[in-house]
């Protein structure tokens, strides 16, 4: 459905996108992951024409994405993106006009769960209601591709769960969904495939299982000592230290545990708690990002 190839964008000296390639198929939820500034939003902006890429190709169902093709794309942007004083009914009517469609406005609002809020001002809606309205506006013209830029930012757990099921429903209807997020747990739950973006480049891609598999050698160790630890203590190099607690990722769990125990003992302390476990997706991705940074 969506093909992005060789996408590059530079802002002055900053290379925001450095040859991004990705494809999103119909019926698929594709997650674009990465820390702030990685280039996720720039990628979305290039797709909808808000940013002119320096190089690269963007295609929707094989055809280049031009202004007319945008009618086939729905987008829910990051942030408010609607005037404070607008009501959900006015917003739906406005966007129906902009997309030249004539939906049943009341039904659209009811579907979004906003029937009783149709005359409320946008500023007075809750985060979840705003996001549902944004999603409703993105779907008004029945787009084939749906772009969701950080859709769960600022939502409470219940609203997140609602949104996750709404996104899965979109894919079930045969739409292609590209969502950006830095919430790794949510990406793991909602997305069929993921791409990890760092410094404008995709550093890993695959299904959540594939990405976990790629990090199967990775183990995390965390625990607590009876004494306060310092990041510079001998034998504790490369660890996250927070008072008496410590945490690290390693591909040699046995050796690392021995090294930690010896370091604590040599400082006159004892090991109070220790947990060794298989890496989660978050650990794998953080490891990848750390490697990219190096």
């Amino acid at each position: 459905m969506l093909t992005v190839s060789g996408l590059r964008k530079r802002y002055g000296r900053t290379l925001a996108l450095d040859g991004v390639d990705l494809t999103v198929a119909a019926g698929e939820v594709f997650g674009l992951l990465g820390p702030n500034g990685a280039g996720k939003t720039t990628t979305v902006e290039c797709i909808v024409g808000l940013v002119e890429p320096d190089e690269g190709e963007l295609r929707l169902e094989g055809a280049p994405i031009d202004r007319a093709a945008l009618r086939g794309i729905g987008i829910a942007m990051q942030g408010p993106s609607l005037p404070d004083a607008i009501t959900p009914m006015e917003a739906v009517r406005l966007f129906a006009g902009l997309y030249s469609v004539e939906p049943d406005l009341h039904r659209e609002l009811a579907t979004a769960g906003l029937a009783d809020k149709r005359d409320a001002r946008y500023a007075t809606l809750s985060g979840g209601q705003k996001q549902r309205l944004n999603l409703a506006l993105a779907l008004l013209h029945d787009p084939r591709l749906v772009l969701l830029d950080e859709p769960t930012a600022g939502l409470d757990p219940l609203a997140r769960a609602d949104l996750a099921s709404a996104v899965r429903a979109l894919a079930a209807e045969g739409r292609a969904v590209l969502m950006t997020t830095h919430d790794l747990g949510e990406a793991e739950r909602v997305c069929d495939r993921l791409a990890l973006l760092a410094r404008g480049r995709i550093v890993a891609t695959g299904t959540p299982a594939e990405l976990l598999g790629a990090g199967s050698a990775l183990t995390f160790i965390e625990g607590e000592a009876s004494i306060v630890l310092e990041p510079g203590d001998e034998g504790l190099g490369g660890m996250e230290i927070d008072g008496r607690r410590f945490r690290c990722r390693t591909e040699d769990p046995t050796g690392t545990v021995q090294r930690i125990a010896a370091a604590i003992q040599s400082r006159g302390g004892t090991l109070l708690a220790l947990r060794v476990g298989q890496a989660r997706l978050e650990d794998v991705i953080l490891e990848r990002l750390a490697r990219t940074a190096e």
Binding site: Y11, E45, V48, G49, L50, V51, R67, A68, A69, L70, R71, I73, I75, M77, Q78, G79, P80, S81, L82, P83, D84, A85, I86, E90, R93, L94, F95, G97, L98, Y99, S100, R121
Partner: protein, 496 residues
């Protein structure tokens, strides 16, 4: 088209939900009306001569603050980006915003005119449709400026700062609040390059004389508007953080503005300068029977150079204007009796003020008066052999500080001039000469104005019509005092 109208309508409604926008967009213009009415309360027709500045300030305020504030606030929230992502042309959103702003400005201007007409006695404009058309062109020209501000400013506070940078200079030296003829020459030239002065002129001319009279100004404004629009297109951005610049439209804007500048500078100053406000009635208006200012009923501005009234046949009749004498020596009692002194501006007002005799003066004013008094002894225009010209020259000494609003000097200096006139000119001649000057303010020369600095007063450059008008009013005010004195003596004599 439907989408544009829908968007414009929605924008309009959203604006009505913003309390601050209502205060700035509607309340402030009404406050301006009241302020103008108070400041210019001695105008012969309330606010008629101020319609140009008044409506231009409204349009400029809406353009410099209202429009860009809305645009930048929405852009900051990502609203523009969201709209843009629908694939619609930027022209739809810009034209929708402009259309909505035009409606706001029209409502605000309509309210101003309504309030001025209903509560402040302003006659309705003589050419309402021409005024409407001119106001639309003025608004579009200034909206071009507002769009430029919106594209340059990164945030709402930046809009306020940039807006002030445009608004205040346009008001003060752009020919809007301060008439160009009261500005130094460099500022007059600058004012001709800006849209404020033609805007004031266009509204004033269109409302008083019809659209054709304002054609030159409207053409200039169209060029200014085009320049602003092209700059806005050249700098259009959907995101405050990014600043693209398209050379084509910017060059087009530069060409349009250059065209406007050439047009403004090549036109004769009178075609682009603000019509001088009718602060004084024409001489005939001070003669009985009441020759109400021409246009008072029609709403048109009066013609200051209008000839005195035609002979009416019976000079002795109280309700009939006597025939004007052929020279000052032929001014008779019937002429003096025919003056309607009650139509003169109030002594405590802004135009031709005079302090109450004996009012205490501060040290600085005393020093200034002393400088004028001693300067007059050696001032060549005060020694002019022709008594009429000499009296004119002395009247200018009072008129210029008044015109330049050199308070408190302007209120005290007339007494010095009055005393000097009584000292210099024989008592029987003085009322006749003052009458003659009042009825012929445009006669004589005004070279004396060049030598005012010798008296410690500023030199006046540019058109001198207003100085002559003020001299006319002072001539009548002095005449009134002479007549009061004469009447008092006569009453005292008859009593004894």
């Amino acid at each position: 088209m439907t989408a544009v109208l829908h968007y414009a309508w929605l924008t309009l409604r959203l604006n009505f939900r913003n309390r601050m926008a209502l205060v700035y967009g509607y309340l402030f213009p009404l406050v301006f009306v009241l302020a103008f009415a108070v400041i210019y309360r001695h105008d012969p027709e309330p606010l008629t001569a101020r319609l140009g500045p008044l409506l231009t300030v409204t349009a400029l305020g809406g353009a410099c603050f209202g429009l860009p504030t809305t645009l930048v606030a929405e852009r900051d929230r990502g609203v523009w980006r969201r709209y843009r992502a629908t694939g619609r042309s930027p022209a739809l959103f810009l034209s929708g915003q402009v259309a909505s702003r035009l409606v706001h400005l029209l409502i605000a201007a309509g309210l101003q005119i309504l309030v001025a007409a209903l509560f402040l006695g302003m006659p309705l404009p003589g050419f309402p449709l021409a005024l409407l058309a001119a106001f639309l062109v003025v608004s579009l020209a200034l909206i071009g400026l507002g769009l430029t501000i919106a594209m340059i400013a990164n945030s709402v506070p930046a809009v306020q700062a940039l807006g002030q940078c445009v608004f205040l200079p346009m008001l003060m030296i752009g020919g809007i609040a301060v008439p160009p003829e009261n500005l130094p020459e460099w500022a007059q030239t600058l004012a001709r390059l800006l849209p404020g002065q033609p805007a004031v002129s266009a509204i004033q001319l269109a409302s008083g004389q019809g659209l054709a009279a304002a054609f030159g100004e409207l053409a200039l404004l169209a060029l200014h508007g085009l320049a602003g629009l092209l700059v806005a297109i050249g700098l259009l951005r959907w995101d405050s953080a990014r600043r693209p610049a398209r050379a084509g439209p910017i060059l087009g804007a530069a060409a349009a503005w250059l065209g406007a500048a050439v047009l403004a500078l090549s036109a004769t100053p009178s075609s682009t300068s603000v019509p001088e406000p009718e602060v004084a009635l024409p001489p005939a208006a001070y003669l009985s029977p009441s020759p109400a200012a021409p246009g008072r009923s029609s709403g048109k501005t009066s013609a200051p150079e209008q000839s005195p009234p035609a002979p009416s046949g019976n000079p002795a009749h109280a309700d009939v204007t006597p025939t004007l004498p052929s020279s000052w020596r032929h001014v008779g009692e019937e002429h003096l009796q025919a003056i309607a002194f009650d139509r003169l501006p109030d002594d405590a007002g802004l135009v031709a003020p005079m302090a109450v005799r004996g009012t205490p003066r501060d040290a600085a004013t005393e020093t200034q008066l002393a400088a004028v008094r001693s300067g007059l002894r050696a001032w060549p225009p005060a020694a002019e052999p022709d008594p009429v010209q000499r009296a004119r020259n002395l009247l200018y000494v009072a008129a210029v500080p008044d015109l330049l609003q050199m308070d408190p000097l302007e209120r005290h200096l007339p007494w010095l001039v009055f005393d000097r006139l009584r000292q210099d000119i024989p008592a029987p001649d003085l009322p006749r000469i003052l009458y003659w000057i009042a009825m012929h303010p445009e006669e004589g020369d005004d070279r004396a104005l060049d030598s005012l600095p010798a008296l410690g007063l500023p030199q006046v450059t540019g058109p001198t019509r207003q100085v002559r008008e003020r001299a006319m009013i002072y001539a009548l005010k002095f005449l009134k005092r002479l007549e009061d004195q004469r009447r008092t003596f006569a009453e005292a004599a008859s009593a004894t």
